[in-house]
Symmetry: C2
DNA sequence: CAAAGATACATAAGAATCTAATGTATCTGA
DNA sequence: TCAGATACATTAGATTCTTATGTATCTTTG
């Protein structure tokens, strides 16, 4: 089972930030594979979604980049900047809070009018 | 604190379906107020988001409508159709599953390479 | 050793879904 | 009376994703 795409919307940035917080530095392709692995294939981040997100994080100053060559092939590593670390904490705790709220909403058994 | 809007994206349809499952029939404005109340103002559904969603649910055959007049003012009640009830179960359990996955993703403490 | 599949970057058109603004109209309480 | 709440609805624009495409290198396998 793969989650319907709408569910992923809005959480991608937080997922990426959190992965970077846990793994120090990662490159794009690695992120897609890591998410796929950690979620047992339930979340598959496409490159068309990931790269624009990474670029946005960079232009917002939340991540810094360094390029490395593996043979002739380029690899672009992303790391959290100090403000990126703060942002990560904010986004993660907001998402955790949101999930609590949603869990409550989904469990409610109220009067059937 | 109000959740950043991107978080709501993709969950609105599920929230509405679940509310209808619990409350038999509801009208649009009532839904906005109910969500606001149940989430202590953390989730505020705007009408610009809600009405198109309700109309989409209707044209998908997931809800049926009945109009009622309160004085001269019209009120449009929405109820789940049989397929809407099935859809609600699907969407709710998918979202619950998704939240488990996200919780795992957010809590992971892995090697710092 | 050729070809397929994996690795690795990137962009772009289009779809989906929300925000913010606007519109109309009625009801209620101070 | 008049502001605020109730109640419907639409629309322009923004955001963010999907799907497709492009380029190039590396690795594995028949």
């Amino acid at each position: 089972m793969i989650y319907s795409s709408e569910l992923i919307k809005g959480t991608l940035k937080t997922i990426v930030l959190k992965l970077l917080a846990d793994n120090k530095k990662m490159y794009g392709y690695e992120i897609t594979q890591k998410v796929k692995e950690l979620t047992l294939d339930k979340i598959q981040i496409t490159e068309g979604a990931l790269y624009p997100t990474l670029h946005a994080l960079e232009s917002d100053g939340l991540v810094t980049t360094e390029t490395e060559f593996i043979g002739k092939r380029v690899r672009k590593y992303y790391s959290l900047s100090p403000s990126g670390k703060n942002k990560t904490k904010e986004k993660v705790s907001e998402l955790a809070d949101f999930m609590e709220t949603m869990k409550f909403l989904l469990d409610i058994k109220t009067r059937t009018v």
